[in-house]
């Protein structure tokens, strides 16, 4: 009587995902959101000067990162990639520590401003601020694996505003020429700070550009983690087969202002901002899991409580870490001896 099993309607089993997998995806989304919200609180409390948010992007990030193999594949993320970084192995504490710019912060030892993640131990490339540069790094990582004949797939993410940088074109074209194992994820939230999509992207589709580079471009509902997983899994398999890149354009919402220094009410219709909440991927997925019989109110509450404890501990641990020492600020411009 499988047709009466509500969980089968979710479609995750056809994608090779177990019930535990989808609940874990949901947990990663919740954790990323909780870290994000906590950092806003810390920013408002004066503990962090600046935050740039990934709220609204969690389903796309968890879904597209889920097929990536930790410690084998590589990721070149961007400044909104909190959920991607967490899915790929960074902890909530790593993210909060980076925002507090502590001396032993894994991303930069307190050298970079908030939002600039990275962890060599997790195969996550260090994020910088000029947008789009990381796309070439993912292409180069994929090129390295291709030269060596390794089984490795690189994934990189960027916004639709960044998709207009020339470096994106150079990277995608080259990846198309050599069928490199790389997945390009454009998280299209419709706004490049204050400039809407129709003023940024001729033709209004980033995915459509892929055709010119000789590989598939797929548009996907970035609010649906399973839809994102499905296209990313196909992209990962394609890359592994040696068939080359895929460009995924995940249509997402930006629930917050561009950053803590921005106020989107100045350029977005208040009704539209209000309406955004209806597209929040977290209640969307939560409701689907409930409808599928995989999540109860009690289980959801327990999960959220567990995450809150984790975040509290992460913040406490992060705050207790030492600040960087100015006496070390001159170091590591170049390699130093046999260190």
């Amino acid at each position: 009587m499988a047709e009466l099993d509500p969980a089968s309607a979710l479609g995750h089993r056809e994608l090779g995902l177990t019930d535990e997998d989808v609940l874990s995806m949901y947990g990663h989304m919740l954790l990323a959101r909780a870290v994000d919200e906590r950092m806003w609180l810390m920013q408002r409390a004066g503990k962090i000067p600046f935050i740039i948010s990934g709220q609204g992007h969690e389903a796309a990030q968890v879904g597209t990162t889920w097929p990536m193999r930790r410690n084998q594949d590589w990721m070149a993320p961007y400044y909104r990639s909190i959920a991607s970084a967490i899915t790929f192995g960074m902890s909530a504490e790593d993210i909060i520590t980076a925002h507090l710019a502590k001396g032993d912060d894994v991303s930069s030892g307190g050298r970079q401003m908030p939002g600039h993640y990275g962890a060599a131990r997790n195969n996550i490339v260090s994020v910088s601020s000029p947008v789009g540069t990381q796309v070439l790094h993912a292409v180069g990582l994929a090129m390295g694996a291709w030269v060596r004949g390794d089984d490795m797939v690189a994934i990189t993410s960027f916004g639709e505003g960044t998709s207009n940088q020339g470096e994106i074109h150079e990277g995608m074209n080259f990846a198309g020429v050599h069928k490199l194992p790389v997945i390009f994820v454009c998280e299209n939230n419709g706004w490049a700070i204050s400039v809407p999509l129709e003023r940024q992207v001729g033709g209004l589709s980033v995915a459509a550009r892929a055709e010119g580079y000789g590989f598939p471009g797929v548009t996907v509902d970035g609010g649906d983690p399973l839809a994102c997983y499905a296209v990313a899994r196909a992209a990962h398999q394609r890359a592994q087969r040696g068939d080359g890149p895929t460009l995924i354009e995940a249509r997402v919402v930006r629930l917050t202002s561009h950053s803590s220094d921005d106020d989107q009410r100045r350029y977005r219709d208040p009704a539209e901002v209000e309406e955004l909440k209806e597209h929040d991927p977290i209640p969307f997925f939560s409701n689907r899991l409930r409808a599928a019989g995989l999540l109860t109110d009690e289980a959801d509450a327990a999960l959220r409580a567990e995450i809150k404890t984790e975040i509290n501990e992460a913040q406490a641990q992060a705050e207790a870490r030492p600040d960087p020492d100015a006496a070390t600020a001159h170091r590591w411009v170049y390699a130093e001896g046999a260190d």
Binding site: P130, G140, M143, G144, W146, E167, G171
Partner: protein, 328 residues
């Protein structure tokens, strides 16, 4: 010992390093089947295949950015910019990314990358095939900058650059690629980065130079010795960053007079750094103001030979500047 020109020495260095280390790879425009527009990579595509000697599209940002990605993955890319004049699309990758990665990641990542760039005028290349743009890179912390002037140094410094754990900008003056042959030590000849070379000892003044200017300065020194009885010490800096201040100051201490010569324009050029270094740390040695002889303040090398000859430095111009300095 083999008699090689600079181009052959550069090719030999890459060949030996690729043979020694399977992680060394070359990428750039026309570096593969054609062997580079100057022939620097000739024969290497046939020997190492089209992945390790990789022809790229005309995409300089890609060349630098992909080199960075590959270096993070564990390779040692040697990237060629076809002409130094065309590096600017890659400037963001070199300056924002490559030079800063080790620092910004608190030493989690390092980038063993060499970016080879044919530079310089005197080859009828006009404004866009003649530039000496080293100053953009010498003023970028996190990069090393090398500019050899002999076949032996070209080989030894390129080998050192390929083995270096940090990014090196490797400037090759086009005019001297095939200008002359000289002895190059066989085998594992490595010239350490960061050491200047006293190319000719002297006592009356020091001429500081690099790249093609080494050849011009040595000719000038011959003329000065012959015609004026002046013994000029020629110091080939070889590495611009890190600068060998010890050798530089020791030379000024011997001669008391310093002439800095470079083809790039004078204002804010590398000579200003050399002059300031001497002024700050070698002031007591000086018998005359530090003097710069540099390219003129025009945006590029003009094409017609009348105009190009006006632009280019040469031994006669160096002799003239040295005479004035010696007479001070």
């Amino acid at each position: 010992m083999a008699e090689l020109n600079i181009l052959e020495a550069i090719r030999l260095a890459m060949d030996e390093e690729m043979e020694r280390d399977p992680d060394v790879m070359l990428l750039g425009e026309d570096v593969g089947r054609k062997g580079g527009v100057f022939g620097a990579t000739e024969g290497l595509w046939a020997k190492y295949g089209d992945k390790r000697v990789l022809d790229t599209p005309l995409s300089e940002a890609l060349i630098a950015g992909a080199a960075m990605g590959a270096a993070m993955y564990g390779l040692r890319p040697v990237a060629e910019m076809q002409f130094a004049d065309f590096v600017y699309p890659a400037f963001n990758q070199i300056v924002s990314e490559i030079s800063r990665l080790r620092y910004r990641s608190n030493n989690s990542f390092g980038l063993p990358i060499v970016i080879r760039m044919p530079y310089g005028g005197g080859v009828h290349g006009a404004l866009y095939h003649s530039q000496s743009n080293e100053t953009y890179f010498t003023s970028t912390v996190g990069l090393k900058v090398v500019a050899p002037g002999t076949p032996a140094d070209a080989k030894g410094l390129l080998k050192a650059s390929i083995r270096d754990p940090d990014p090196v900008m490797f400037f090759e003056h086009k005019k001297v690629y095939r200008l002359f042959r000289a002895d190059v030590p066989d085998g594992d000849h490595v010239v350490p980065i960061g050491r200047a070379d006293v190319a000719r000892p002297g006592k009356h003044l020091s001429i500081f130079c690099y790249g093609y200017m080494r050849i011009c300065a040595l000719e000038a020194a011959e003329m000065l010795a012959r015609e004026d009885g002046l013994e000029a010490e020629v110091v080939d800096l070889r590495t611009l960053r890190p600068l060998d201040t010890e050798t530089l100051l020791a030379s000024v201490a011997r001669t008391g007079r310093a002439l800095v010569v470079h083809e790039a324009n004078r204002f804010g050029g590398f000579g200003a750094e050399v002059a300031a270094t001497i002024a700050e740390a070698g002031f007591e040695s000086l018998d005359a103001p530090v003097t710069r002889l540099a390219g003129p303040e025009v945006p590029g090398v003009p094409y017609h030979h009348n105009l190009e000859d006006w632009f280019m430095l040469n031994p006669a111009k160096i002799v003239e500047a040295a005479r004035s300095l010696a007479a001070y």
